[in-house]
Amino acid sequence: MIRVQREDFDTGKELERLSAGDHTIGGVASFVGLVRDLGGPDQVSALSLEHYPGMTEKKLAEIEAEANRRWPLSASLVIHRYGRLEPGDRIVLVATASPHREAALAACHFLIDWLKTDAPFWKSEETPEGERWVEACAEDDAATRRWR
């Protein structure tokens, strides 16, 4: 399941719901992305996340379908927030449930790596000098290429 929303989410409840009632599930893997404040001269007071409504949902659904093709998942969930977020706030939740631990872990890793390079979101940071758009990072591209 895919959700793109401004509101926060309750990680515990989402994980609980993902496996509820299905006793063939042996493991639930998850990743929660948080807004970092690295301190120093570039101190970030807040992030703003913009996205491409319509295409965002389409890409996330494609990424989720690909994970389900590659691994035997019982359930999967991607929640991505947009709008203004402060350090410590949750940005994204990826969760996967499977009878098999390795499938859940690998699919979760795949989903967050792939999402980072394929979902049309853009971050800008509020800094003392004003808005600054975050630049894409080569490390993320490398992480996604691993799965190709």
Binding site: Y52, D118, F121
Partner: protein, 87 residues
């Protein structure tokens, strides 16, 4: 007359182009993404500056990432943006 194309701009392209979205008639000589970007650059210094470095520009046609050689047609939704930075 054929349908216009819808152009969408995201992230820093919005401020540089000075638009969030616009509908423009597709010129007869524009057949692909490369041609469209070339034509856009001729529309004013804001476009020329925003689209100067194509290595930091990505394009989606009808919500699919495409390369420079991808065809564009009247009625297409064409989004122009920097590399994504979500997650």
């Amino acid at each position: 007359m054929s349908a216009p194309v819808k152009l969408l701009y995201f992230a820093w392209l919005r401020a540089r182009v000075g638009q969030v979205e616009e509908e423009v008639p597709l010129p007869a000589e524009v057949h692909d993404v490369a041609g469209l970007l070339d034509w856009l650059r001729g529309r004013g210094p804001n476009y020329a500056e925003a689209l100067r470095d194509l290595s930091v520009i990505r394009v989606a046609v009808n919500q699919n990432y495409v390369g420079n050689e991808h065809p564009v047609h009247p009625g297409d939704e064409i989004a122009i943006f920097p590399p994504v930075t979500g997650g």
